[in-house]
Amino acid sequence: MNFDLDTDQRDIAAGARDFFRGSASPAAARAGLEGDRLEPGRKALADIGFLGITVPEAAGGAGRSVLDLAVVAEQGGAVLAAPSLVTAARAAVLLADAPELAAQLADGSTAFAVLDGPVDGSAPSIDAADATLFLGLDGGDLVVGEGEVVPGRPLDATRGLASVRLTSRRVLAPDAQELWARARQVAAVVLAAEDLGGADRAVELGIAYAQEREAFGRRIGSYQAVKHMLVDAWAGVDQLRSLVWWAAWAADCAPAELPLASSAAKAYAAGAFERAAGTLIQVHGGIGFTWEHDAHLYWRRAKVDRLLLGDEAEHLDTVARLAVAGALG
């Protein structure tokens, strides 16, 4: 048994942390709400190679594992970076047999988005707001095409949500349901990894404040109501980390476990991130409810992410069905 990151992955995490801390921030996420550009942006992510982590080397990517990608995504989640690595992860699976498109994904020359719902513009998708080429499932076929983009007024601007109606389409792979399902499972893992980063950071900020702020002659972290709230949020992050690593490992090494593992991680992430972000606001009191404070930006992410790629109820149901069908091994 060796259920831990290796030295290589720790280095990747450290590098990603430096990159994201230097190129994205909650401040940028806040500015995004007023229409500013999101950070670090697609080009920077392509330049440092993060959009191509799981794209094969032959197609200009790094040919690395989903676990490596998850480790990077966690660091992006910690500073609410955009666009999401979920899109890159999902598109890389879908474009496995289309190396030219995969190369454009990896080098950032084409802005892809994957439409999670129908291709008729009736459901929002991640990173669709500034995308130019869309992947979707249409009558069981995997299609690629251009589209008409209608951005909404998102609760969280960093997700680039927009609904898209395809205006052209070309079939990339007929009868692609299985490939589509796998891509969506990988996407759920990476989304859970970003949530892990966001939740972890929210707890960290909450702890720091509880160590400083005083009320009634004591630091507030010494009050159990505050302490226990933070412990529960921290424990949720700790448990989520295990599920994310397991699910990412399954994506690489145990495909039969991926459906169960990805749904478990996604379902748990929804609650853990929401609790962490809610705790962050509550621990801060009035300041936590201000526009200037970062707390609401984590809260926005958590509220939006819990619904993306299937909500908690959908994934709990999937876990139950798969477990009863014998997926626990």
Binding site: D4, I207, D238, S242, L316, T318, A320
Partner: protein
């Protein structure tokens, strides 16, 4: 990242499996659907089972060889636990002795005490219990009132302990007493090994909310304990007790062991029961099943992460408390969903097929959230020792114990 056994671990597992097969005829086994045995009713078979396992080298895996252990790793110990569960061999009768009392004797006992006690403890020739809690001191353990007064070569003990698991079958116990009431409460304590068959020791069973009697109250009336049975110096009892409590944290859920019924058993139950529910009820039940499974898997894989740290030479720290918290929560979700799947059967003493294990497990779990540190006390430990949050202000650390009470 790799969930398979390393070559060494695989070889060890194969050896354990072979030993369990070789001795199968001499071991107690759980019937299908049976989840545990009552030490009160099955004491002889449980003692025999532990002796056979000890002689095969499967008890005290992590203990030093010089005290009858195997000098093995926590990972090996986890492998033994997994294989015992797989072979449906119930938990050891002397689990408190092995998990808490023995390690305390190893750390603080004299050579003479180690020689006399440890090998017999491993073979369940002697069963041990932990005599810490009192009616007026549970979480606040250092507030205990049972006294030990020096009298020549002996100490004379008076007082009462309570909720003492296994005291009814125990031969020895580790006993925390107050020997100096004029000092601050943590400084006036002394630990002893007490002979549970000594004159003046009375054990009375307590009935738990689920109906069983695993724990007891224990009365001490002028019980004489020779000074040679002291563990550590007089006044050093708190330090000795901390060794016990640290080992307790690891023993309960510290390295990913399942608390409550295994999730696999639960899923089997769900497989049988779900189809009988109609429409909306089935949808709601699946949500509960999914939640219980996810929580169980999260606790299991977090345990694997801790185990990995231990296998690389790390030592179990206060984050072991998180394992108990998460395991308790997962066990509750499992038991709760298990009962709800029973529908009307849940309110009768047993289901139509005579299997009342979900009701039993459910009524056992409130105790787990209390025993070995309550959920709240564990959160305090995690908040202060892992998250680094400020401690609670307190006034009881410096004043003399006798001055603060009565």
């Amino acid at each position: 990242m790799d969930f398979d056994d390393s070559p060494d671990e695989a070889a060890y597992r194969a050896r354990v499996r072979a030993l369990l097969e070789e001795h199968a005829g001499e071991l107690l086994h759980l019937a299908p659907g049976q989840e545990g045995v009552d030490a009160r009713r099955h004491e002889p078979e449980m003692r025999r089972t532990q002796r056979v396992l000890a002689d095969a080298g499967l008890v005290g895996v992590t203990w030093p060889r010089e005290y009858g252990g195997q000098g093995g790793t926590l990972v090996q110990q986890a492998i033994v636990a997994q294989e015992l569960a797989r072979a449906r061999v119930p938990g050891l009768i002397n689990h408190i002795g092995i998990g808490m009392c023995g390690p305390t004797v190893i750390a603080h006992g004299s050579q003479d005490q180690r020689d006399r006690y440890l090998a017999r403890l491993l073979r369940a020739d002697d069963v041990w219990c932990q005599l810490f809690s009192e009616p007026a001191s549970g979480s606040d353990l250092a507030a205990l009132r049972t006294t030990a007064v020096r009298d020549g070569e002996d100490w004379v003990v008076n007082g009462q302990k309570v909720w003492t698991t296994l005291a009814h079958v125990a031969d020895y116990g580790i006993l925390l007493t107050r020997t100096d009431p004029d000092r601050p409460k943590h400084a006036g304590l002394t630990m002893f090994v007490v002979d549970m068959h000594a004159p003046g020791v009375t054990v009375r069973p307590l009935r738990q909310m689920g109906g069983q009697s695993d724990f007891n109250e224990v009365f001490f009336d002028d019980v004489r304990i020779p000074d040679g049975e002291r563990l550590g110096e007089p006044g050093e009892g708190w330090r000795v007790a901390l060794t016990t409590l640290m080992n307790e944290r690891v023993a309960i859920g510290g390295a990913g062991g399942t608390i409550g019924l295994p999730v696999e058993a639960f899923v089997e139950h769900a497989r049988e029961r779900l189809p009988a529910l109609d429409g909306d009820r089935q949808v709601l039940a699946r949500q509960a099943v999914g939640r219980a499974v996810v929580a169980s898997l999260a606790a299991r894989y977090t345990g694997y992460r801790r185990l990995t740290v231990l296998s690389q030479g790390g030592i179990p720290g206060p984050e072991a408390s998180a394992g108990k918290l998460a395991g308790t929560e997962a066990a509750r979700l499992v038991a709760d969903a298990g009962v709800r799947l029973l529908g009307d059967d849940a309110v009768y003493a047993s289901t139509s097929d005579g299997d009342d294990r979900w009701q039993r497990t459910q009524s056992w779990l409130p105790g787990i959230a209390i025993a070995g540190g309550t959920d709240q006390v564990l959160r305090n430990i995690l908040g202060e020792r892992v998250l680094g949050l400020p401690p609670e202000p307190r006034s009881d650390k410096t004043d003399p114990f006798s001055g603060g009470r009565r």
